[in-house]
Amino acid sequence: MSWLLPLTVALPFTGAALGVALDHWLPEWVKQFPALVFSVATTVCAVLALAHSGSAPVHWFGGWQPKHGIAIGIAFVGEPLGAGMAALAGVLATAALLFSWHYMEEAPRLYRVLMLVFLGGMCGFALSGDLFNMFVFFEVMGVAAYALAGYHIEQLGPLQGALNFAITNSIGAYMILFGTALVYGETGALNLAQIGKTLAGHPPDALLVVAFTLILVGFLVKAAVVPFHLWLADAHAVAPAPVCVLYSGAMVELGLLGIARVYWTAFEAPFAMHAPDVRNVLLVVGIATALLGAVMAFLQRHLKRLLAYSTISHAGVMLAGVALLDHASLAGVANLVLSHGLLKGALFLAAGVLLREFHSIDELRLHGRGRELPLLGVLFGLAAFGLVGFPYVGTFLGHALIDDGGIELGHSWLPPLLMVASAVSAAAILRAGARIFLGWGPKHDPLLAPEPEEKPPEGRGSGPLMVVTVAALVTAGLVASVVPGLQDGTEHAAAHFMDRQAYVSHVLEGKPVDVLPDVPAVVHRATDASIAYGLGAAALTVLVTLFGLSGRRIPNVFEPPINVLKAAHSGIVGDYVMWLTVGTAVLGGVWILTLTRG
């Protein structure tokens, strides 16, 4: 079934090309269909690839199979986590295209074409088994994403947001390429399995550490991890709401997939002695991201910007899960990506409906006006509630597995910190929801930074279709924690993902992988600790939400640090690149000192 893999990537690109070619010939009412058809076909392909991913099919382009265990061609590998990411991207793209039926009034043709190119880039990145091809697809999805961020080209905000996004992420891409070149110089290989095989007996010298740092930072930029996260809020704030669904639900997570894939295929063996050093650095960065994102989310009144910071917070939680470097936590990350993607997608689409109805997305300006849309309010509340991690709802399975992994490794301080982060970011969303849909809380809040008004350029759209799309995403996201067999399935997939030797002999020598066992259809077996943290997160969320709505001033002690935080998110691209450079230097410095010790 290995032909499914290239087809998953070829379909969206074909659709994009056809979309441009046929546009003049099709009558107006048919024009919506091709993009949607190709997006659905891509999703079906990715889901089929996921269904057949147990044996991890490998596709060698042009039939260039490895000779004598040496890779000479370019490969796609359909292992479960990558195929799952492609499937999630397909589902979210389909939802976004359904939602934007008649939503985009200006140049809708280009919008649909860009969405398909974006989807194709993401699928290619998720399935690629080759370091250089990862860079190429990284750039392809990047370019489509930059163009979509600046879609409303007649306004200054989108232009600035797209510019910041394009420059920071391109630097990240060049760092990946620089690191890739160093790895190629060291190993003579670009195929990940081949690199892993060659580096297996390699000492962790300074050159390898530099290559590792550069590649990792490139992906961390995409994953919006502190201090490389600054572009994300700008890009989300200005991009059309359906585009944000793909940014938050799939693109950011693909950065994390890139880190996990490169680490476990290529760099795990040379750094095996120093795994604790890699773990500690990534854990610190992940937790800092989770907390900072949550606090910043709480300080926003522009709904899309608020949701963007909440995405940063979740990306931090996910990075912490990857950083634990064990298979149960990685399975937790996979589950968190799934439920978070669906729920956050629903929230962004709900924000899109608000923008269409009320021509504003400002929490204070919309105070109480959402009462006209009770159904949307309920869906909004449910989606925000799903992000808390309440036992057996929404993101719970992901949070629980990461918490358990942390406790098992002796980091019992990790779950409370992650609990605070998820509670504060969920409380920010619930506070905004309560203000907009219930009219609770005061109409003025000095804590929240003023935002320039967004011109509502988006078209009228189809109301019922929009709400149905939101409802479908919310439902799927809420039940993601109680799908029978999901926990065991993802744990097996994660264990396979981390097994470098099996990956190498599978890709290079065609040795079959151990087929994933038929998992019993058991719902998640939650531990007492994870249930306690889930309930704690819910209680804390309620408290913080009520505090946000009370209109009380925060204690004076906190004002200087909050002002510093706000000032750091300056919107000026030079500052962002400064942070990027300093962050890279610090990360590389720490790893040079720790990873090369004998």
Binding site: F132, E139, G150, Q155, G157, G161, I171, E451, G574
Partner: protein, 114 residues
């Protein structure tokens, strides 16, 4: 094997970043981005370089003659193609920013903050 190309590559990368951080003009900034990017060309070509070897064209040369690594050249070409798109996009955004804000200084565009 000389270390010079590697030093040049590292220098180009860093000096490009310095230019981006300090730039007061978006067109200048786009050029700085291409400087950063061109460090990867130098690095790739240096990695594939072999002393006293010819270009990797195997028509009309004796079998077994030395040639430089063609893979890095293919990578460099791909890199050029991919990145031209990015620079074109940034320059297009710059044109529109100039139309709206009447400036190309990134520090003076204040569509949003915080």
């Amino acid at each position: 094997m000389s270390y010079l190309p590697y030093i040049v590559a590292a220098w180009l990368f860093v000096v490009g970043l310095y230019g981006i951080v300090t730039s007061r003009n978006l067109i200048h900034l786009a050029v700085c981005l291409t400087v950063t990017q061109s460090s990867t060309y130098v690095l790739l070509l240096a990695i594939g370089y072999k002393h006293r070897a010819t270009a990797p064209i195997f028509y009309g040369v004796p079998v077994g003659s030395r040639a430089v690594d063609p893979v890095v050249q293919a990578l460099t070409l791909t890199d050029v193609v991919v990145s031209v798109t990015v620079v074109a996009l940034i320059l297009a955004l710059t044109v529109d920013i100039h139309r709206d804000a009447k400036t190309v200084d990134p520090d003076e565009i204040e569509a949003f903050r915080g």
